[in-house]
Each structure stands twice: as structure tokens, then as C-alpha cells.
Symmetry: C2
Subunit: 489 residues, 2 copies
């Protein structure tokens, strides 16, 4: 793309001043419409060193009320970020509905730099391209506007700018070793940037190359594309998008109704023995995980009163409290609801070597949100693939991902509900909502069967825990976690 | 994609029968909604030889009323098609609003076969990928639903099927040399197909890989995706899509107001001499074009009464009538209006070695359609890039593309209008509409300036013909045509 590109003709300074004034006025009140239509806007600034990204960005944001935008400079990774998946630091920064987020530098910079310096190879580069395309598609499919600018200047112009910065001792610090390396290897960089732009130039999130020889002109180009892009997105509102085919290898799944719950029990004596033995084993593995920096994600879904809480208690009973976190997942908070539904889970990912346990998960999208109509049919239909992509990002990062569905039958649920009602100490655990959900057992069962079938991937498999006997389920969970961790160690 | 893919689990025969029945019922009445929403649906069947594309297609269409679909088998090119641009035979077959078109084999088959047999190289393959992505994006951007299916079977299964066909003398003819070649070179083919699927897998027109081991199951997969895709498209209606940046090298353009019309004249004597000389030259070139199979496309736009007709007359005066065609372009007919706006121009492309002259053109999109509101703002804004892509396809094919804007000033137009009014023999040439357009001179001028600036590409340049003196304009046109043809010979 960069290679095919030629700068369009620049207007005269007077024309520029006139257009700039008009464009600024247009942008100034767009935040009202963004708010009304709940449109989140992610704007990415990329380009050559010394191309003027920073100064143009500074001028653009002057036209927006500070309550409606944030700027993130994505230069060096924090230690915390180093221990998270590649996309983590970008995903957690996505804007809320009605707001702008400007990224000064992004994953393009990260990936192309790594590739140019040999830190990742062709295959690594290719994998990143897939993740990035998925990320941007997930955003636009979920109603985000994504605008991507590449600031372009020639080799000579770049050199001239560096020399000018180096001359003055007040600006010298702005030129890094890497900047000079880029200018020396301009053509090599151009090839890699060109490949990157081509690979990530998607219709719904296209690249715009900015002629950055002149700051005012760069500003005008960006304002024009922003106003245009925002108006296009505003005029569309919520869209249905094609449901992509699953391309993830799946494991065979059986329906809940085909799973026998009878006979899946364990004696108290055996339980105590096994529990103690398995917890010791898991405890050892936890140390090993920590040393080898392997992250573990354990996801729990299941019927109300199936025994998730007690099950989780037996897992964490084996763990060093400094190395794990349990995340109970309730309805999303307003700031969570205003973003992509996976955002709050990206935010809760463990560091490498740590364990995160989710008590209810991102699968809410295809269960409660589906059934209660909290999202559109297109949203939850699309979510199976989005979730498989999310989990693939996790396992590509090196994580162990284990997913449990804690299963009981309808009679056992009723018994447990009644027991909770009749036991004052447990009455807080039962709500009106639990009774209402119980009435929807059959439609939940159908949704769960579909979920298990469509997301039972080889890399992040589902396990059904038969939990009419809670103790049986606990032992089974421990065994599976141990087995899955051992596979990766 | 093919390599990552694993077949999803097949339902039992009873489950299939039940789903098939439901899906068929759903599809049966979808054409009513397609008609109401004017949705055109292009469905592409690709896949391995003997994978059962034909028989499944036969079963699918049984569920649709024959008035609402067409099937085209895209196997061998006709001689006519051999002499048209690569995409021609596909573009002319796109469905009308509210209708289905099924392509049994498509450009995928064409391109991958050419590449596998060394008829095109890596660069040729890459160029085709760009054209194909543009084509599909142009369709979906203009409101088409595009569904693409790849029928997948393994090497052994394919061999088994070929052997079975060969055993029976009634079916033997169905196995071609190329089919057997494909089976022998299955892995090589797989690599190329995989690359193709990856390169053309766009969010708005994704690939669906069909597990084709079983005909009924293949049917079910396709029906499900069709119903789903149609419902998604129906729920959206007309969308605004992002305006892509121009990536075509442009020539410098001046505004109409900066073009001097004074002094651009020629004496009658000089005119006669030049005309005769240039027409002879063009006539010779026409023969050469014919022998060298170079196609020529000459596009005329201009003000009413600017003298387009007389200008064209002087061009064709030099040409062998068997080797050219003039296409006067009026408002689109209903069957043209029901399709992509470029369709009627694709349909009128010359054969190699022939000349096509367009009296008004595809630029109507960004002039009259823009100004009269016959299309949305998003439509005409997007059209500059679509038109540049269209013309690039033409010049990549080897065509000479020359575009004229025949320019006069407002006073000269008034004189000519009055002359037409006062001359009984010419009165038919002037209509109420001409007077109405004249009132919109200024907004037309603005649209024309924008058009000239945004589509004055290096490969298909614009020339303004100063036509206050019609004779001057005729001589200039002839000279330019000759110069542009000589460049390619």
C-alpha cells in the first residue's frame, strides 16, 4: 500500500486555513452525536519516526472536549504488561460508548519493530496479523469505529528532521537509537510496513496514509477522515454482521440430557483421601507453574445451586494465595456495559505464572444475555466465534485454559433451593431470580448444549462436572485441572 | 483456512431430515423479503472435483421459485469471454435486486487452475487477488449479499469417487484429465486453495468451508448459512460504508475555472487539413490495434451542447465500422437500475482489438446521480475509488483508456441553446431538462472539479477539450487519442 501510494496534491495555505476552520467546527460538536448513538471511536496514530504524530495529535484533540477523549502513548511495555497476552494492553484501552480513544503508537509499532529486529519470525508475524485482524473485526462487529492513520514521510525528509532535532541540545533527547536505525534501514522498514498495512487493511477498518510533510496538511487530512468516518458510522447505528464459520478444531460433545448423573458419587472416606492427595499435588504444580511462568485460567459455569462455589473453594484450598485470584462475575457495571463484552475479562486476566478462576464467565453472552435478550441475536450468534478467538489468544500466549460446566438435574436443584429457603444461614444464597431462571430450565439447557458444542475447542476444552454429588464433582475438577496443567509443564 | 479447518460433527440421519425440512421451509419464502428489500444475493460454489457441488446445488435450488434465481456454470470461457477483462464474465452475471445468482465454479477455480498450471506467476496471482477482493467489496458495499462455499473432501475420498465414476461407462465422461491431475497433486492444490481462501476471506464476504462427505449434510450446512446470511442482510438494509483512501497515483488537475477557453480556436482551412491528416493516421492505428488485439475505451463527458456528438462523429469517421461501437448512455433501464451501477458498463466493454466510445459514462454516478440525489452521499463518495478500481482493471487488461471532458462557458451554452430553439431541425436536441441543468451550472462545476481531481489517474487520465470552438476540440481529441494509442503500441 505504501508503495502504491502517492501524496495527493496539497492545497494552498489559504485553502488549508479555510478547510481547517470548517473541519474543526464540525468535529467540535460530534461528541454529542457520539453520546446519543453510543458510538465508541478508536483512533490509531502510526508512522515513521519524526513524522509528527505527536504534534498533530496534540492539535486534533484541541477540538474535542476533554471529557470525551483519552490519549494513550503505547511506547514501552510495563513489567505488568510484559506478563500479559500480546493484545492485552490494547484491549484494556478500548474506549467506552460515546468516547474517543487515541492510541499514539499501537500494535503495528510493536509487531513491526519485533519483526525488524528478529524478535519474532515470519510465522510469529503471521500469527500476530491474524490476532490483529480478529481484534479489529471484533471491535467493528461490536459497533466500534476504528480509524487507522499512517504518517508518511520520505527518507531524506526524515533524515533532515532528525538532524535538526540533534542540532539543538533541548531536542536532542527526542532522537533515539532506534530512530536512527530506522532511517538507516528505511527501505527495509518500508517493506515491512507495507506488508503490515496490506495484511491489516480491512474494509471495515481501512488504513489511511497521511502525507505528513506538512503539519497543517496532515491535520486537515485527519480531520476530514475523522468527520467523514464518524458521520458514516453514526448514520448506520447497530448492524447485523455475517456470522463467520468456526475454523477451530472442536472436540466431540454430548448433550446434557445424554450425560448420566446417577452413580457419579464418592464415599466420604474416599473423598477425604483423594481430596488431600490431589490438593497436595496441585499445590506442588502451582509452584512449578509459577517458576515456569505458565498462566492458568479456570472458568466455571453451571446451574444455580450446582455447587460452583464449594468446588472453587476446594481448588483454591490447594493454592498459595499470592498466586491466584477468584473473579466472581455478576452483571456488568456501567463502565463495563459501555464496552466490548470481553473487555471486563481481558481486564481480569492473570499474569504469567498466576491462576485466575472465574465464577461465571464470558459465556454469559450466549446464556443469560441470549435468553434474557440483553444482546441481539446477531450478537450472541457471533459470540461463539469471538469467544473461540479470545481463548485461542490465551492459549497462544501459553495459558492453560480449563472450562467447567457444573451439572445437576432439576430435582436436585429443587431440593437444594428448598434447603436454602429453610436454612436461615443459607437463605441469602437464594433469590427470586433463581426461581425465575429455574422456570426457564429447558431453554437454558438448549443454549448450554449449543454453547458446549460450538466452543469445545481442542485448545480450550469443556468438562462437564456431574455434581448431584458435590464431592464427586470436586474430585473430578481437581483431577482435570492437574491433568491439563501437567500437559503444559 | 482449509488447513486449520476440521469438520464439525455430523448430526444423525434423523436429525438431518428434521433440520433440512425446517431449513427448506424457511428458505422457500425468503424471496418475498428479498424482493421487498431489493436484496441481490450472489452465491458461489467452489471446491474439489467430485465433491458434489452440482448435485447439492440441484437440491438447494429446488427450494426456490424459478422466477427468483439463475444458475451459471462457469467452466470453459467462450471465445467472446477470452477477449474481455478477467472479471468480465463474472461481473455481467451479478444478480438483480431481489434475485439469487448461483455460480457453479467462479474466479477461484479460474485463478487457482491458471496458477497451478503455471499460466500466471506469483505476481499475476497476487494481482488477481486484489481485483477479486475489490470486486467482492464493491458488491457488498453496494448492498449485495455474497456467500461463498468451498466443498471439501479428502484425497482418499476424492479418489474413491473418481474410481466409482470411471467404473461405469455412463459416468466415465464426468472425470476429466484435470480432475485426475488434481487428485494426484492433492497436497499441492491444497496449498494453493488454502492461500486463495485466506487471501479472499473478507469479513463482509467470508468463506464457508463445507464438509462434503455426505450430500445431505452438505445441503444442511449450506441452507443454514444461506438462511442466516439472508436474515442478517435483510435486517440491515442500506448501509453507509467507510470511504477508502485513494491509492491510485494521480496526475495534477486544474479547476475548470482556471482553464482559458479564449483563443482555443482553429481556422477552417487548418481544420480541414488537420482533420484529414489525423483521421488517416487514426485509421491506420485502428488496423494496428486490431492486429495487436489492444482494446480502446474512449469516454466522453461534458456540458449540454458542448459538442460531444460532433466530436465523436469526427472520431468514428476515421474508423472501420466493424471495429468500434458508440454507446450513448441515458438513464439506466429498470434491469440496469436493479444492479451495481457499473454493471451496464461492464456489459458494454469492447473485445480486444476493438474500440468502444461512451457518450456519457459511469461518471454519471458522481455528477447527475450525486446532484439529483439518485444515490446516497455515501454512494457517490465511495464511487471515486470504485471507478478508479474499475479503470485500473481495464488498463491492467491492456486497454487504452482516454477520458474527455468537453468544456464550454455558460454564454456559449446559452447561444447554442437559443440556436437549437430557433432552428426547427435542431429543436429535438433541446429539452426542458437542459434548461434545468443549466440553472445548476455552479453545483455541476463543483462536482466536475471534484471528479476531475479524484479520478485523474496516471493510467486513465482526463483531458479537458476546450470546445467554445468545436473544431478546435475535435482536432485536440484526435491528437490525444492518437498519442495515447501510440503509447501502447
Amino acid at each position: 500500500m505504501l508503495k502504491d501510494w502517492t501524496a495527493s496534491e496539497r492545497p494552498t495555505p489559504e485553502q488549508m486555513d479555510e478547510s481547517l476552520e470548517q473541519l474543526r467546527a464540525k468535529l467540535t460538536d460530534r461528541h454529542v452525536a457520539l453520546g446519543e448513538k453510543k458510538l465508541p471511536v478508536l483512533i490509531i496514530f502510526e508512522g515513521w519516526g519524526a513524522a509528527g504524530k505527536g504534534s498533530v495529535l496534540g492539535k486534533i484533540i484541541k477540538n474535542i472536549d476533554p471529557r470525551f477523549f483519552k490519549v494513550a502513548t503505547m511506547s514501552v511495555k510495563t513489567q505488568e504488561e510484559e506478563r500479559k497476552p500480546f493484545l492485552y494492553r490494547y484491549f484494556v484501552k478500548i474506549p467506552a460508548a460515546g468516547k474517543y480513544m487515541f492510541l499514539d503508537g499501537s500494535y503495528m509499532d510493536e509487531v513491526t519493530t519485533e519483526f525488524l529486529h528478529g524478535d519474532i519470525d515470519e510465522e510469529g508475524f503471521r500469527k500476530r496479523m491474524i490476532s490483529i485482524r480478529q481484534f479489529e473485526r471484533q471491535l467493528t462487529d461490536n459497533g466500534y469505529l476504528v480509524l487507522k492513520f499512517f504518517f508518511h514521510i520520505g527518507k531524506k525528509e526524515q533524515k533532515r528532521r532528525y538532524e535538526k532535532l540533534l542540532e539543538d541540545k533541548n531536542t536532542r533527547w527526542r532522537v533515539s537509537e532506534n530512530d536512527l536505525w530506522q532511517n538507516e534501514h528505511y527501505d527495509k522498514c518500508l517493506n515491512v510496513y507495507d506488508a503490515y498495512l496490506r495484511e491489516t487493511n480491512q474494509s471495515q477498518a481501512p488504513w489511511y496514509i497521511i502525507d505528513a510533510d506538512n503539519v497543517k496538511w496532515a491535520q486537515q487530512q485527519i480531520l476530514e477522515i475523522m468527520v467523514n468516518g464518524i458521520d458514516t458510522a453514526l448514520s448506520n447505528g447497530a448492524l447485523a454482521v455475517p456470522i463467520l464459520q468456526n475454523l477451530f478444531p472442536l472436540r466431540k460433545t454430548v448433550k446434557l440430557s445424554e450425560i448420566s448423573l446417577d452413580g457419579k458419587s464418592i464415599s466420604d472416606e474416599e473423598y477425604d483421601q483423594e481430596l488431600s492427595k490431589l490438593q497436595k499435588k496441585l499445590s506442588k504444580l502451582h509452584n512449578e507453574l509459577y517458576r515456569k511462568k505458565i498462566p492458568v485460567i479456570i472458568a466455571y459455569e453451571g446451574w444455580d445451586a450446582a455447587g460452583k462455589g464449594g468446588n472453587i473453594k476446594r481448588i483454591v484450598g490447594a493454592l498459595d494465595p499470592r498466586g491466584y485470584e477468584v473473579h466472581p462475575i455478576a452483571s456488568p457495571l456501567p463502565n463495563e456495559k459501555a464496552r466490548h463484552y470481553l473487555w471486563r475479562f481481558w481486564n481480569r486476566l492473570p499474569k504469567t505464572g498466576h491462576i485466575a478462576i472465574f465464577d461465571r464467565t464470558w459465556y454469559g453472552r450466549v446464556m443469560v444475555e441470549r435468553i434474557e435478550g440483553f444482546c441481539s441475536e446477531n450478537d450472541w450468534q457471533r459470540a461463539y466465534n469471538e469467544i473461540n478467538e479470545f481463548e485461542r489468544d490465551l492459549t497462544d500466549w501459553g495459558a492453560v485454559v480449563v472450562k467447567f460446566f457444573v451439572h445437576i438435574d432439576k430435582d436436585v436443584q429443587l431440593e437444594r433451593f428448598n434447603e436454602r429457603m429453610n436454612t436461615p444461614a443459607k437463605r441469602w444464597k437464594i433469590t427470586e431470580e433463581d426461581w425465575r431462571n429455574r422456570e426457564k430450565w429447558d431453554i437454558y439447557e438448549q443454549a448450554i448444549d449449543e454453547m458446549l458444542a460450538k466452543t469445545n475447542t481442542i485448545n480450550a476444552p469443556w468438562y462437564v462436572l456431574e455434581s448431584n454429588d458435590k464431592k464427586y464433582a470436586r474430585i473430578k475438577a481437581l483431577k482435570i485441572i492437574i491433568k491439563e496443567i501437567e500437559k503444559k509443564i
